[in-house]
Amino acid sequence: MIRFDYQEPTTLKKAFSLLEKHGDDARVIAGGTSLLIMMRQRLLMPKVVISLTRIPKFDRITYKPNDGLRIGAGACHRDIELSPPVKKHYPLLHETFRKVAQPRIRNMGTIGGNLAAGDPLTDPGASLIALDAEVTLTSSKGQRTVRLDEFFVDYYQTALEAGELLTEIHVPPPERPGWSHIKFTPRSIEDFATVGVAITVKTSDGTCEDIRLGLNSVASTIVHAKKAEAVLRGKPITEAALREMAEVASTECEPTDDNRGSAEYKLDLIKVLVRRAAEEAVQRAS
């Protein structure tokens, strides 16, 4: 393991001044589950590691019916999984966070750390996109809000700028009652997803009023499949329409070969799993 200095600021203000002081030499740590592995593999070699765990209220989860869910970036996956308002109002999130890694990782890893790492293989991002989530990015100069589907830029690259921290995730009040989440793991159940699909849908009289579709592990970022959504939005829900939507979704993805499957196999899976997720979501919507 490389040598580094470890700092534990007790306020966001102190964290920002440390970030400004050390610039590219610094990395922040919350749970540390992914940073530690990247440091061990020397993919990241910060000289200073700044812990955010002593910052008060950084892990709060609050819910208001007219505002929705606000999750502090320091909340760990397990807390979100077990949160009563999440279970009650956002069953898609409850289901998703149940499936993230295993309990030991969910006890340590934080949602802020997960999203800020920009890892396209992980589960929360697709479901949060399907719920129109946005993230608050804070720096010493102020705050800005970015839609989550615009936050992921490339492999392990996000819209975070130097000196910025992801401080909050906002999930608006749920508008689409139908939902489905599929995490396809052909080897061990404990693996990363080979393909992950999250859908929310609102229907009326057999027509799709609105829909959101997110996918992970299928491109260099988590995908918001807008073209696929457009195939179904406002149209009658038929088997043919769902198949077409799934076909179009596969064209919005660019999977690669890896030890979980070839790109060709993943494209086949996208067509099958998007269709199945849509079928399940539509059933839940009615």
Binding site: P186, I189, N259, Y265, D268, L273
Partner: protein, 232 residues
């Protein structure tokens, strides 16, 4: 093992006989104690005897050793011979579900029958069966050590997966009622038996379900899907 254990017992009884002023042939041991037959009131614990053997002039820890060479004939160039004194046998059966759109395999249940002669320690033997099966399912469906010019390129548990508790199917197993005359107390080996047939059993079950066979391990859903497509 049996010979080594017998050796240990002999050393213990020699020491205990000295301490009890008795003849080693008159001693028996039960529940961790050694005593003269019929005089259970005056007993020594096995650990006391072992300590006494060590902490004395010319003392030494009690270490038993034994060896056993079965009647065997090394294989010749034709690879026929008789390498071992005894052979163990087993049978496995699997019930699987195959998803024809994704190729994913779910093992619904698994049954194993093993012939290891006398089962000396049932819990231990069951553990061997269950562990062997986990290894078998692992290499049949999940693992896959990738080697490039002699070097493993996925030597970590993130890329090289082994079965977790949730990957294991419901399992039923039984032991054949048999006795191996050349083995200690009629026992034979058991350890590796249940790893051997597993991949073949699963592959056969998949063939029964969807009519395709995979020819390389691990049997992945992708290979099954590709085989299904080629079959048309």
């Amino acid at each position: 093992m049996k010979n080594a254990a017998t050796n240990v017992k002999q050393q213990l009884f020699e020491q205990a006989a000295e301490m009890l002023e008795a003849n080693p042939q008159d001693l028996i041991s039960r529940d961790g104690k050694i005593f003269v037959k019929g005089a259970e009131g005056k007993s020594l614990t096995v650990s006391d005897v072992a300590r006494a053997r060590l902490f004395r002039h010319n003392g030494a820890p009690i270490v038993g050793s034994g060896s056993f060479d079965a009647d065997s004939v090394l294989p010749d160039a034709t690879r026929f011979g008789n390498e071992s004194g005894a052979y163990n046998y087993g049978a496995q059966a699997a019930q699987v579900q195959v998803d024809p759109e994704t190729g994913q395999v779910k093992i619904v249940q698994f049954a194993v029958a093993s012939d290891c002669g006398t089962v000396i320690y049932p819990l231990g033997a069951e553990g061997q069966v269950e562990g062997g099966l986990a290894q078998g399912i692992g290499y049949a469906l999940i693992e896959g050590l990738q080697i490039d010019e002699g070097r493993p390129i996925n030597p970590n548990f993130s890329d090289y997966r082994i079965p977790s508790m949730r990957d294991m199917p419901p399992l039923q197993h039984t032991f054949a009622d048999s006795y191996e005359p050349t083995g200690p107390f009629g026992a034979k080996g058991l350890g590796e038996l249940n790893m051997d047939p597993t991949a073949a059993v699963i592959n056969n079950a998949i063939f029964d379900a969807v009519g395709v066979r995979v020819k390389t391990l691990p049997i992945t859903p992708e290979k099954i899907l590709r085989a299904l497509k080629e079959k048309g």
